[in-house]
């Protein structure tokens, strides 16, 4: 069973309560900020900075869920909960799949924001 990249219900609710124009701007803000969070996860992992790693995962989770990017949100939540500790190699692989999911989310959100 595959989950939609962006949950339509969540995204539509957000548009209904905050306004379509505002949500387009908000998507723009997210797309501008998210790459820094992804980069932060990698550099925190490399530096062994557990706090920074957890905070970056937490922010990404929170924003993903706001837009209905539930898969990305779940991946980020998993990182927030397990933290930096388990094998760094495995973490690297997880971060790769996180990047891939973010790329899908970014494309989908750009599309939705235009609509």
């Amino acid at each position: 069973m595959t989950q939609a990249t962006i949950d339509q219900t969540t995204f539509n609710e957000l548009k209904a309560t905050a306004g379509a124009d505002f949500v387009s701007e908000l998507v723009g803000t997210f797309l501008a900020e998210a790459p820094a969070m992804l980069a932060d996860l990698r550099s925190a992992l490399a530096a062994g900075d557990a706090d920074r790693f957890r905070r970056a995962a937490h922010s990404l989770k929170s924003n993903s869920n706001t837009f209905g990017a539930l898969t990305l949100g779940a991946l980020a939540k998993n990182l927030e909960l397990t933290g930096i500790a388990p094998a760094a190699a495995a973490k690297g692989a997880t971060l790769d799949s996180l990047d891939a999911e973010y790329a899908r989310v970014a494309t989908a959100l750009k599309e939705l924001a235009r609509g």
Binding site: L26, N63, E80
Partner: protein
Amino acid sequence: MAELGAPGSRLLVVDDNKVNRLLLTRSLELQGHRVATAENGRVALEMMRKDPFDLVLLDMEMPEMDGFQVLEQIFKDPVLRGLPVIVTSSLEGVDSVVRCVELGAEDYLPKPVNPVLLKARIGASLEKKRLQDQLKEMVRRFATPEVAQDLQTSGFALGGKRVYASVMFSDIRGFTPLVESQPPEETIDLLNTYYTLMFDAISSHGGVVNQMIGDGLMAIFGAPLPLPDHEACAVRAALEMIELVGMFNAERAAAGKPEIRIGIGIASGEMVAGYAGTSKRATYTCIGDTVNLAARLETHTKTAGRAILVDGATRAKLPERVAIEALGPVEIKGKANAVDVFSVNLGQSA
């Protein structure tokens, strides 16, 4: 009730994440609030200490100073303590939520924040804050900043302690016939002006008015907070009271109204100070021989025909330049031995 959380409420949104800040601000502005934002706990505390806010929406995971630390600081700060904080976070685990509530958070809203829930919780918190502000305002009006502060930090703990302080009693001479000769509105008006003047004089010299009965009042110098030279402070306040009443009388005379005269008694010594009453209704007061003596001295001003009478303990601590006249030992009701009474002469500063 329609005014709950109405426009005009000033809210502070604290979140390190820009998307969250923008979205929360948008939701709140759509609900008619004015919103300021801070991107971490340290900045938020600076803003709260500079400007008054009605409510704070606080994220927990933040760099520099996180939400838990902010809650701790707010709780420790007597000024910020009553400020309602709603935690908006996507913290994992019930433990964190419990910790927020234990640290004094008003409510917890998980992210993404549901706008309907947000509106309801903010409305409830603001209403609670409004009621607390009313209560604080009442405490402020009927007590002093010192007492109000003491009440907040002690949490209205009843109980007493021994203090060394000066007590003052004051009332208006011939007040009853005055009340009978004028319309009631005029009496209340007179009392309001009179009390405003007396409160000013007393608090500007470090005293605390703790009782008002009709035209009489009781004030304490040196409790609940210690006051150096409380004897001289009390006498200075008394002299200022007499001076203010003189000015007030000049105004009244111009309006064709009769003058008022006041008598003041001051005594110093050890007494028991604390909150007396029940946990629902208590007043800060002082009890002991010194207090009784101050009340008797005030009564004795009528017989002695003087405005300010003090006891020996007060007199001993006054600077040389204060003109004092010894009236000799006076029989005081409730005292086995006659008490030395001194009159403070007017027209000079203590």
